[in-house]
């Protein structure tokens, strides 16, 4: 029983990391129709900035959080304004290629600005072990789950009750009509990019605290993207659930069947679910009127 509980706990923790990044993919897609393939790399750069800040302020969690969130917002706004927005009228394939190009540049930037070495990210008590009824987890793993549920609640309230959230949904639904109604699609895009960067940054930082900070951190984005597909590309909260499903499935398969099947297990589930629900578990079925 404890074995199962430990597998579930680890699966939920890593699934929460996937979930936060998956939400980032979905927020940008929902608001702009664009898939940002540099999302994992953006999370990695924010984690490195957080590490740089933490080493200069002796790991003070408040300064690290404020500094990292501030950087994430500015970084995302700069990318959106300088690189993405001028491309928005171009074919979608070109836009996607730009994000792939950005991902390569961001990966190289890590070596140019920092280094290729693994680092221990010591922020507050993030690395401390906590015993939850016989199941040992790191504090950062609890924090990432809390962050995911906070993000889910925040996003639900934002899209349902805030004027800006409703505006974002309007832009996602029909960009042209929303603009005629006075909604600024530019502002919506900026907000989406900033929110996505903060979420993926939180995921990157907490993963680095629990495990290690290294230039391979971007690979989390590759694991999170299938979670977005599973939850539904336009379903922000559904993507979070998709991340948890993939994290738990991977761990159960690795724990009970074989490590070799661990990496493919999530994709098998995606194929099965997409065969039944092509728009993902929580995605909206779009009706094309002719």
């Amino acid at each position: 029983m404890n074995y199962l509980a430990e597998l579930l706990a680890s699966g939920l923790a890593v699934g929460a990391v996937y979930g936060l990044i998956a939400m980032s993919f979905a927020i940008i897609y929902k608001s702009t129709g664009l898939l940002n393939f540099a999302q994992g790399e953006m999370g990695m750069i924010i984690a490195y900035v957080a590490w740089s800040i933490s080493t200069s302020v002796d790991g003070n969690p408040f300064i690290v959080a404020l500094g990292s969130i501030g950087f994430a917002v500015l970084f995302a706004l700069a990318v959106e304004r300088i690189v993405i927005r001028p491309m928005m009228s171009e074919p979608i394939l070109s836009q996607i290629m730009v994000t792939i190009g950005l991902s390569v540049i961001f990966r190289s930037a890590i070596i140019l600005i920092w280094d290729g070495l693994p680092h221990n990210m010591a922020i507050a008590s993030g690395n401390q072990l906590v015993d939850l009824g016989g199941v040992r987890v790191r504090a950062a793993q609890i924090a990432v789950l809390v962050a995911l549920f906070a993000a889910i609640a925040g996003m639900w309230a934002f899209f349902r009750y805030s004027r800006f959230g409703v505006a974002m949904r309007a832009v996602a639904s029909d960009d042209a009509t929303a603009q005629l109604m006075g909604v600024s699609s530019g502002k919506v895009q900026m907000a989406a990019w900033a929110a996505a960067a903060v979420l993926s940054g939180v995921a990157g930082v907490l993963f680095a605290i629990a495990y290690e900070l290294s230039p391979s951190l971007y690979a989390l984005g590759l694991k999170a993207f299938p979670a977005t597909i599973l939850g539904g590309l336009d379903a922000v909260i559904g993507s979070a659930v998709g991340g948890l499903i993939i994290g738990v499935t991977e761990n159960l398969v690795g724990g009970y069947i074989s490590s070799g099947l661990k990496e493919v297990a999530g994709f098998v589930i995606i194929i099965l679910i997409l065969m039944v629900r092509p728009y993902g578990l929580f995605g909206e079925k779009r009706i094309e009127r002719l």
Partner: protein, 384 residues
Amino acid sequence: MNYVKGLAAAALLALPAGMATADQGVTDTEILLGEVEPLTGPPGLLGVAHNLGVRLALAEVNAKGGIGGRQLRLIAEDDGYVTSRTIQSLRKLIGVDKVFALTSLSGSGQALASMPIIKQSGIPAMVPIGPLPPLYEPPSDNIFVVGQSYTEGMHQLALYLAKEYPGAKWGIILQDDDYGKSLGEGIEQAREEADINVVFETEYARGQKDFASEMLRVKDAGVEVLIAGGIISENIAMVKEAEKLGITPVIATFWPGRVPEVLKAIGPASDGIYGVDYVAPIQSEAGQAFLELARKYLTEDEVARVNRYTMTGYSSTRALIEAMKGCADDLTWACTIEKLETNPPIDTGVMDPIGFGPDNRFSNSGVTIMRADYETLSFAPVGE
């Protein structure tokens, strides 16, 4: 694999005609050398350190007047550990830059894929990173491999652990590629010679970051000796998971991760981890003398990046330079290859002396079993 072979074949066909000029890269004032290695991405940890070693060897000889009055210059190409980029870079170095010799062909897989180009061109090439048997068995005239095979290193490590921990339950976690296969072969060889009771064995996909389920199975199986067959990040994740689960098996890792940064990233749980290597620890007398030399020719930032790959890069390049020195009056590929073959072994102090022979293109370095000391962030030979 077919894709890699296809790339290599295509690259071979595309080599410029007349490329194999024996004395290319040599002018009255300069000798041009080239190398390919990962300088970006996670494998940059080894590529950057190797590059420093080669530059150190060049700076040392240049400070003493070069070879026959010619200064040595290096062109380093970054392949990001991607084989297709290795092939492109080699074509550029040999055909466009026209370097005289090569000081690295990147990692083991990249070097294997490069062999047709290197053999056809005839350019002297040193292979100090990832020495795999197919690179030197059968020997190729112009390819010189330095170090020790992963298989033999793991063979020795497993034999040592079997003797030290008789009757222990073993767990083995390996990467599902050539690297993991080589380590697996080393363990198999040891199992034929010693009593090794493996109770858990698994492979993981390259790039995996979460090892929670693997380590839970290690715990469940009651493993007492664990072979953590990852490269760098994977081993960090495995040891941290063991710490999280509250288990304390004897953990053994392999030389790609034998760098201080790995111990620092793991934290106190890294204390006592076993390692194996054919290169002297940086804290040893030879390692300290090497650091002293590095401080003479490299910047402070660069010295901070020195690790075992700097030592192998330096030693291998020194062997090449000594051969070239012997041909200073008639610097040709044929002469350099002959000198590499016949020169007495070159001793740099940080690994076994490097030497080759008429039918031997592998300078075989003996391995040392080591243990990590977290307090000093270093590895020391066992028994010291």
